[in-house]
């Protein structure tokens, strides 16, 4: 590995700006760190360069631990967005700076300089001052300067940010060519997905200080695992669908989708499907569609962008068919569609035209949290609950909706629950959770009043059978809050002497599964004693904590854990229920 980051965390005033990030970049690889501003990507790059210290974790370059090595001894080349050229020095002096520092002889310096100027196509510019060069030329000089001392690693911090489009593309090509020619391991930071696609061998997407997904550009685009990556890499329509034993359905319409996992017969759950604008098929009538019908719509806006035509279409039969996430209220859902010129010529459209929409390709996100459903005795109380700050911030960050449901008196048979049910904490919370699970809810979020966004999330499950589900839900949750994840393993008192090997192995298994399957970095802690006591003790140790609890027995919530749900002032608890029959999965049997 050329660059290896192991659980790197950097905090500013106790807020993690880089949160438990582990990355491995191979020899000669072009790695692009992509994320919105404030996602921690630049901080991470500065940490690799050694300009910013880290609070936790390890950084190695070519197998050598450099966590505590000063920037000047790390042997990296760094290129800045604003070039950071030494303006009082000529191009030649700028490029030779690193060589002078190393007391290289003048003749060798000159030879190296010529070599570098040729590499970035700036021959003959030696005696110019940076102020006499254009922005693109200055950035070329900066690249040459960063490469002068033959660094093992080249780091680029938004190098094209200050340039206009034409020059940007030209410089992009130069950098890619230089990188290929030298075979130098490169990390580039950008917020521009087009740039990332154009340059990267591998893309790592960051948000809120966390590394969400790492992968080949194509794979990330076609099969994103998180809604953030789905919407940040290119445009995406997010749709709510139902996953049943016989496939994905929008309302009553079954559709084909990739990435969906089979569910147990009899149960169904809600999933989030990604529909790329270019994968939407448009036809006059439903029968003319060659792909699966999703909804009817009315053309609202047509924008001509040259190669493509962009349509905004309001869905007509929502919410009976597709439910759209992220935009407006129900009945006001709009789908973004792009069409190529040949498609446009085939079926010219004008605003107001009614059309049928089909999905050529639909990708189901593996995220287990699709939407929220605020449940309270009355609709008004449910609306009140939906305004809880934590629920509001979660639904906003997840670009999803909070439905309302009155569950008066816990009697009768309600409609099937979709998404994560949310209820208020209190003495009745235990029985309510039990009732909800009995009636089909798989995840229940118990919210104390005005609970703040957590900074630490404890994860615990009572049975290895729910490990997988609990980890998936935790990972999904943690992608949308700035918190550290801690798996709490609990060993009963009497078992302490009997041997701790098994729990320790479970702990490590859990950690590696969280990392490999969900990209979730979590700390592990081992507590000894009775489960509820241990959980309460750990939750009480800080101010803004939260618990994700996996259970297999429906009655557990109502009895054993009800004290956790009733505590004052209390903590948000997310209960994940999976029946124990799911135990027969290969990786647990092994």
């Amino acid at each position: 590995m050329s660059i290896a980051l192991d659980q790197v965390t950097k905090r500013y005033q106790d807020q993690p700006v880089v949160n438990d990030v582990s990355i491995e970049v191979g020899e000669g690889e072009f790695f692009v760190l992509l994320g919105p501003s404030g996602s921690g990507k630049s901080t991470l790059l500065r940490a690799i360069a050694g300009l910013t210290g880290i609070d936790h974790g390890r950084i190695s370059l070519h197998g050598k631990d450099v966590t505590h090595v000063r920037a000047r001894d790390r042997g990296v080349g760094l290129v800045f967005q604003n070039y950071a050229l030494f303006r009082h020095m000529t191009v030649a002096d700028n490029i030779e700076f690193a060589l002078r520092v190393r007391r290289m002889k003048a003749a060798e310096r000159r030879a190296r300089r010529q070599e570098l100027l040729k590499l970035v196509a700036l021959q003959g510019m030696d005696e110019r001052l940076p102020g006499q060069l254009s922005g693109g030329q200055q950035q070329r000089v900066a690249v040459a300067r960063a490469l002068a001392h033959k660094p093992q690693v080249l780091l680029l911090d938004e190098p094209f940010g200050a340039l206009d489009l034409k020059i940007r593309e030209e410089l992009r090509r130069t950098i890619r060519a230089v990188q290929r020619e030298l075979g130098i391991t490169t990390v580039l930071v950008t917020h521009d997905q087009e740039e990332a696609f154009a340059l990267a061998d591998t893309i790592g997407v960051m948000n809120h200080g966390r590394l969400l997904e790492v992968g080949h550009p194509n794979d990330l685009y076609a099969q994103p695992a998180t809604r953030f990556v789905a919407t940040f890499l290119g445009a995406a329509n997010l749709l709510l669908a139902r996953q049943t034993a016989d496939g994905i359905r929008f309302g009553t319409t079954p559709v084909n989708a990739e990435g969906s996992e089979p569910v147990q017969a009899g149960r169904q759950h809600e999933v989030v499907a990604v529909l790329r604008p270019e994968e939407v098929e448009v036809a006059e009538k439903r029968e003319q569609l060659t792909s699966d019908f999703i909804a009817r719509g009315s053309v609202e806006e047509i924008v001509f962008t040259g190669a493509l035509e962009r349509l905004r279409v309001r869905l007509l039969d929502e919410p009976s068919a597709a439910q759209l996430l992220g935009s407006g209220a129900a009945g006001d859902a709009r789908v973004e569609i792009t069409r190529t010129q040949p498609e446009r010529r085939e079926l010219p459209l004008s605003t107001g035209t009614q059309i049928a929409l089909g999905a050529r390709r639909l990708h189901v996100l593996p995220t287990p949290i699709s939407s929220f459903l605020a449940c309270a005795p009355t609709e008004a109380q449910a609306a009140e609950l939906a305004k809880e700050p934590l629920l509001e911030s979660l639904s906003t960050r997840m670009k999803t909706r909070v439905g309302l449901r009155a569950i008066d008196g816990l009697v009768g048979r309600p409609d099937p629950f979709a998404g994560v049910a949310a209820i208020a904490a209190g003495p009745d919370a235990g029985p309510t959770v039990e009732w909800l699970i009995r009636h089909g809810a798989a995840e229940v979020l118990v919210l104390p009043r005005n609970a703040p966004s957590p900074t630490r999330v404890f994860i615990h499950w009572t049975d290895e059978a729910v490990r997988r589900a609990t980890l998936a839900v935790s990972a999904s949750l943690l992608r949308h809050v700035n918190a550290e994840a801690v798996y709490l393993g609990i060993v009963a008192d009497d078992a302490a002497s009997a041997g701790r090997a098994a729990p320790m192995r479970q702990l490590l298994d859990a950690r590696s599964e969280a990392h490999t399957d969900h990209g979730l970095e979590m700390r592990t802690e081992l507590a000894i004693g009775e489960t509820v006591t241990a959980l309460t003790r750990n939750l009480s140790a800080g101010v803004t904590q939260m618990l994700v609890l996996g259970i297999t027995e429906i009655t557990e919530a109502g009895s054993a854990y009800s004290s956790l749900l009733a505590a004052q002032p209390g903590w948000p608890v997310l209960i994940v229920y999976r029946p124990a029959e799911a135990r027969i999965t290969p990786e647990i049997a092994a």
Binding site: R70, A84, L129, G131
Partner: protein, 279 residues
């Protein structure tokens, strides 16, 4: 293409009017009084002129005026830079207050600073009483004059260097560090060269101000002819003797030197701008 031939709109309209104002005020408050000064001096014949400006007392006063100003400006260049550095690079409680105190010498009547310094540095003053036993006499010697001029010139250096330092982006230091440079190397090769034009400008301003300073110096100088008598004081003495022509002659010498120095300052600034802002 419609705008060809039209002048660029400007925030303040009327090039003609503004140039007129500039010329008028320059004439009224700068050029005419100076011309009068030169005319007055020109009323003397050449030999007397030379006799006045090259008299041993006058020469001693030039030496003191320019020497003390030079030392004071050099001291200011070092400490003014340090103050500016501290103010720009660090945030600490009371930074704003210290930033404001820097300007005090601008606002304080110079006589007040002179008297205050004399009180502090006199043989029985707060600081003077400790320096006296060491054989260092500050008040009523050239050292005292230098101290006064340092105080007066300090804000010039701080205020010119401060913005220049603010422009030295952290990125430059970071870049140099990743290229392998140590701290001292970065300071010597990156920071100093970048702020050098501003530092030289501040130095020249402080120096020029020192040469022209009168109020604060006369209290601490003791004003002994040939020893602690600065040129501006000599001019005032000539005036009190009703030797207007003699005063004007000395004035012309000061004027010539000031002009040369201000020209040098301007050239420095032009040079500095060329080095850093050519587009």
């Amino acid at each position: 293409m419609k705008n060809v031939g039209r002048r660029e709109p400007n925030v303040i309209p009327g090039f003609g009017i503004t140039l007129g104002f500039t010329t008028f005020f320059l004439c009224a408050i700068v050029l005419i009084p100076l011309a009068a000064l030169v005319l007055k001096a020109a009323g003397m014949d050449w030999e007397r002129f030379v006799a006045v400006i090259a008299s041993p007392r006058a020469l001693a006063s030039y030496k003191l005026s320019f020497g003390a100003s030079l030392i004071a400006a050099l001291v200011n260049m070092v400490f003014g830079f340090a103050i500016a550095w501290t103010l720009v690079r660090y945030d600490f409680p009371g930074r704003k207050i210290i930033d404001a105190i820097i300007d005090m010498p601008f606002a304080l009547p110079t006589a007040v600073s002179g008297i205050a310094l004399t009180t502090v540095f006199a043989g029985n003053g707060w600081i003077g009483q400790y320096l006296e036993p060491l054989g260092i006499q500050v008040a009523y010697t050239w050292i005292g004059i230098t101290v006064a001029l340092t105080l007066i010139g300090m804000p010039f250096v701080v205020r010119t260097v401060q913005p220049a330092l603010q422009e030295v982006q952290r990125d430059l230091e970071d870049a140099a560090e990743t290229l392998g440079a140590g701290r001292f190397y970065v300071f010597r090769r990156i920071i100093v060269p970048t702020v050098l034009p501003a530092l030289l400008t501040g130095f020249a301003l402080a120096f020029a101000r020192g040469v022209g300073e009168y109020g604060s110096v006369i209290f601490i100088a003791g004003n002994m002819p040939m020893k602690t008598e600065i040129t501006p004081l000599l001019i005032v003495i000539r005036l009190e003797e009703f030797d207007y022509a003699g005063a004007a002659a000395l004035g012309v010498v000061m004027l010539a030197i000031s002009f040369v120095m201000l020209l040098a300052i301007n050239l420095l600034q032009v040079w500095g701008r060329k080095r850093t802002f050519v587009r």
